[in-house]
Structure formats: C-alpha cells, structure tokens
C-alpha cells in the first residue's frame, strides 16, 4: 500500500503561519533572538536534550577560522528505530523547519545551511527542493532576507546513504565532508569546530520547527506547556501493539499510562521509550513521565502487547546495533556482538546467572568506554530487559521460543 498520513492528533504546527516566526525573529537583535530561545527553555528534540539557546550562544560566540563562514545543519537522519515524526514534519511542515534554520543562521551569523536527509527519505527530496525554491522567490532565503540588509543565507539538501550512526552529529559532519561516517572525539564540539572546521549548529528537525513556533507565539507561551524542566509540546512516534499507531503531539511530562490510553495501547506489558537506544519500561512503571527529568526520548514509543517475547525484542535491537556500529572502537564493535551472542545463549536456555552477570558488567563497560552515543547507549535495551523481565529470559526450554 501507499503510505498514509501518520498524524493522529491536531498539531500545534498547524496553527503556525509560515513566515510569521521568521518575521518576528528578524525584528529582534541577534542577542535577543538567542535570549528568546533560551527563555523558552527549548531542549533538543533529537534525543540528547541539550538546551538550544545555550548551543546557539556558543556558536554565536565562536570565532570563524579564515575567510569561511558558520553553518547551520538540520539533522534529518531520523534513524532511531520507531521514530518517524521528522518524516511527517518534512512532509507537511517543511516551511517551519527551513524557517527555524534561517532563524538559527541569523542568531549565530551563518551564511550556509545544510539539511542532511537520510537516504531512506530520498522520495521527499523533490518536495523539499520545491519548498526551498518557493522560499527563495519569496525573499525568505538568499540575500537581504525579508529586507534585512546584509542577512544572507541559503540551504542545500544533502543525502545520507543508509547509516544510522550518521545521525550522530560529528559522524554526520564527517559524512558531509566526504568521509566514512565515523564519529569524532568530542570536544571539540561542532559549535566550535564543525563542518569544514567552522562553528556549526546541528539541530534536529523538530527542534528547528519548534523554534519557528516559539517566535510565532512567544517564549512564555512555550514555557507554559509541559513541566518546569521539560518545556513545551513534543511529537511522539508511536508504533507496535496499539489501536492507532502514528504521530501524536503531547505536552512533555505525560505519563506512559496516559499515553497508552490515548493511543489505544492499554494492557501493554512493556513500552520501549527512546527506541533501540532507550529502555523497555515494564507495566509496573507506567506511572513514569516522559520528560528530560525522567524518561528522556527523541519521541520513539514502541508498545509491546501481553503476548510479546521480550528476549526476541532484545535480540532485534542487538542485531540492529551489530549492523550499525561503525566499528571504530572496541567496546562497541566487540561488545554488541558479544551481547547478541549472549542473547542467543539465553534463547537456547544455556545461560548461567554468572554469565548473565558478566554480560551486565560488559554493558557497564560499553556505557563508559565507547566513543560515541551509539556504543554508550546500545546496552540500554538489553539491560532493561534483563533487569525487568528476568523470569522470562532465564531457563528457557524449546517450548518458550
């Protein structure tokens, strides 16, 4: 079948008139633009939750090396299993995303923008190019944007080529520079040494669209939604065992139980929050909140119904990481393979508790010793399943498969 519209709730983005956010931003000084973003308390929607205002401030203060300029990169690599809200944003709200990039450019003094689109979404490219063309014609990109003297900025679309790790911001930059997508050591961070060695802001698609909404409606409005530490609304990509999978907008701070109610997933035995690199939350903890202060996520919610085999789930995630590890550092390259082997041993019912404990210690090593977020977070799913579903995974017989 052909894809259908994923949206299951009205979105705040429906109420934002394209152009209004940019106009409001350009009426402010650069410092005030960053001040407004900081006042909104917006945190990155790509998963890590870094405060957007702080990131922009660092990039604005960073010195350009030589003649070249600063860059704004939109991270549209959306590879985390169970995440598809950026696809919806790029399909239905591309203006708001490009506008957020333009506001970021104004704030930090960038002249070039790049949108790194995952190869799997290449079918969106003609649409995105058309939106860019329209914005150029409307004076929203190019020279003297909306009559602002000296404000020049344009955006180019670049394609990924099927590598999850390229969503990691330094791997993404490596890829843009024509290299293998192998993460760099951080520091230095992209705000100082990013694309072509220049100060670069990398933001998620949803973060940038949210910036546009913040300028259209005000930081105070945004801050009024959500919790003290997790301001604003958030898009959730919901899949798995529920009546109505799709994209939902909820205020941050919603509990898993409330969310399950809304998506028709009550009775679930577990919910994976944060995708393969997140954790499997058992039913006993459904009162927990989805927020930066409790369960942080880029928006991936996968519901597991009562009949699901959690070891099978863990295996699928580990296969993913074995496949997607860039192989650059040993804890991740060898660790993920070892964990997958451990799962196969558990499947056969041949894993002692002592061996399981060794695997748990390996997880801890991977979390601290891996070079990038992939290896640091790949043990999460395994750990949460081993911890929360131990009775289900130990001493299995062929009948349990």
């Amino acid at each position: 079948m052909q894809p259908s519209d994923s949206r299951k709730t009205p979105l705040t983005f429906d109420t934002i008139e394209p152009g209004s956010g940019l106009a409001a931003a350009l009426a402010k000084s650069r410092a005030d633009i960053i001040g407004e973003v900081s006042a909104s308390n917006l945190k990155g929607r790509g998963g890590a939750g870094f405060p957007t205002g702080t990131k922009w401030n660092l990039a604005a203060a960073a010195r350009v090396h030589g003649e070249a300029a600063k860059y704004v990169i939109c991270n549209a690599d959306e590879g985390e299993p169970g995440t598809f809200k950026d696809r919806v944003l790029l399909t239905a709200y591309a203006d708001l995303v490009f506008e957020g990039m333009t506001i970021a450019a104004r704030a930090i003094g960038a002249t070039r923008g790049l949108l790194y689109l995952r190869g799997e979404y290449v079918y969106l490219r003609p649409h995105l190019e058309a939106v860019l063309d329209r914005r150029r014609k409307a004076g929203q990109l190019g020279a003297d944007i909306l009559g602002t003297p000296g404000f020049e900025f344009d955006i180019e679309i670049r394609m990924g080529a099927g590598a999850y790790v390229c969503g990691e911001e330094t791997a993404l930059i490596e890829s843009l520079e024509g290299h293998r997508g192998e993460p760099r050591n951080r520091p230095p961070f992209p705000v100082n040494t990013g694309f072509m060695g220049q100060p670069t802001v990398v933001n998620n698609v949803e973060t940038l669209a949210s910036v546009t909404a913040i300028f259209a409606k005000g930081a105070a409005w945004f801050r009024g939604i959500g919790t003290e530490k997790s301001s604003g609304f958030k898009l959730f990509s919901v899949s798995g065992d529920c009546d109505a999978p799709g994209v939902y907008e909820f205020p941050l701070g919603i509990t898993i139980a409330e969310l399950l109610e809304r998506v028709g997933g009550t009775g679930a035995k577990a919910v994976q929050v944060g995708g393969a690199s997140g954790q499997a939350v058992p039913a006993s903890q459904f009162g927990r909140r989805i927020a930066f202060e409790d369960l942080a996520t880029g928006g991936s919610i996968i519901v597991f119904g009562p009949g699901r085999d959690m070891l099978h789930v863990a295996k699928n995630f580990m296969e993913f990481f074995v496949e997607e590890s860039c192989g650059q550092c040993t804890p991740c390259r060898a660790g993920n393979a070892k964990l997958l082997e451990g799962i196969e041993r558990l499947e056969r019912g041949a894993c002692s508790s002592a061996y399981l404990n060794e695997l748990v210690r390996l997880c801890e090593t991977m979390q601290v010793a891996s070079k990038c977020g992939l290896g640091q977070s790949s043990p999460n799913a395994f750990l949460s399943i081993v911890t929360n579903f131990q009775d289900e995974i130990l001493g299995r017989t062929p009948a349990d498969r």
């Binding site: 994923s6 190869g119 394609m159 080529a161 699901r308």
Partner: protein
C-alpha cells in the same frame, strides 16, 4: 567494459565533479548519483572519481564500503529493501520476507541471475506505524502482506520499469 563506454563514464564523472565542485565534500553526492544511475560503483568508476578529486582510490573505496546504500558489487535494477527493525518485525516482516524469497528464488543479500532484482534487509525505514515496510529503489511500500509480494514484483516488471535505475552490467 569497452573503451568507448569507459570514456563515456569518464566524461560523465567529470561533469558530475564540475557540478558538485572539485572538493572532498563533493564525494558523497558524486557517488550517490553514480549509484543511482548504474546500481553499483565499479573499480573503474572509483579510480576516475579519485583522480578527479585528487584523492587515493582506497579513500573512495573506504567510503563506498561504509554506506549501506552505496555498492561496489553489481546490484539488481530493482533493489528491494525490507525493513527488519522492531516495529516491522512485530507487524509480521518475517512472512513478507519468506514470500519475497519464494517469488524471486533468491535469498536476502542475493541478486537474481537476470540482474533485475536484489533482495536486502534494511534498518528502520521510518514507516513504523505502517509496517511491514519496504523500499523498491526510492519508492516506499507500507503495510505489505505476503500476498502483496508477488504484485509488487510484477509492478516492478511493468509499471515503473521505464524510469528505473539503469543497471550497469555492461
């Protein structure tokens, strides 16, 4: 490859490099266009790209081998990539996979002898609410059932054969 074909490819790569700029950052876009047109990137193509960008061919090979969507080995005119990640797994990808294998007579990772179809696994395609999902070249199919496997393959054979990738088996 015939000398005339090599010359043609060489000219083509020169034009690509001229368009994307003679910089290392042009490497991915150049390789992606070659991949799209020829379904694989041959040793000869890698050598020419390297010469044009002033880098060592092993650098080009390093990049080609890193990315799942760039291929050194010849691939079919139609590359079928079935999502193997969790949501599509829960939605029943295993049966779709089996039926695709049955229809094409090949296993995952293989190409049909006539060079028409390759069957591959993909990581999450971002269609998790509508799984099982698969890509045929750059076209996405959702909620695929085992019964539909045959129809999708037939569609490849007829409907959009005209503007599909031109396989470079010459």
């Amino acid at each position: 490859m015939l000398v005339s074909q090599q010359q043609k490819l060489q000219e083509e790569i020169r034009a690509l490099v001229a368009r994307h700029g003679r910089t290392r950052a042009a490497l991915m876009p150049v390789l992606q266009e070659l991949q799209e047109k020829y379904a694989s990137i041959t040793d000869f193509a890698m050598q020419v790209v390297a010469d044009e960008l002033g880098i060592h061919p092993s650098e080009v090979y390093g990049v080609v081998s890193f990315y799942a969507f760039l291929h050194h080995e010849p691939k079919g005119r139609f590359q079928i990539r079935l999502c193997q990640t969790i949501s599509c797994d829960l939605a029943g990808k295993a049966r779709v996979a089996k039926q695709l294998e049955n229809e094409l007579g090949i296993a995952f990772g293989e190409t049909t002898p006539d060079g028409r179809f390759s069957l591959e696994w993909a990581s999450c395609l971002g269609m998790c609410d509508q799984g099982p999902a698969l890509l045929v070249n750059d076209r996405v199919y959702t909620r695929v059932t085992a019964e539909q496997a045959h129809r999708i393959i037939e569609e490849c054979r007829s409907v959009f054969g005209a503007h599909a990738t031109q396989a470079a088996h010459a």
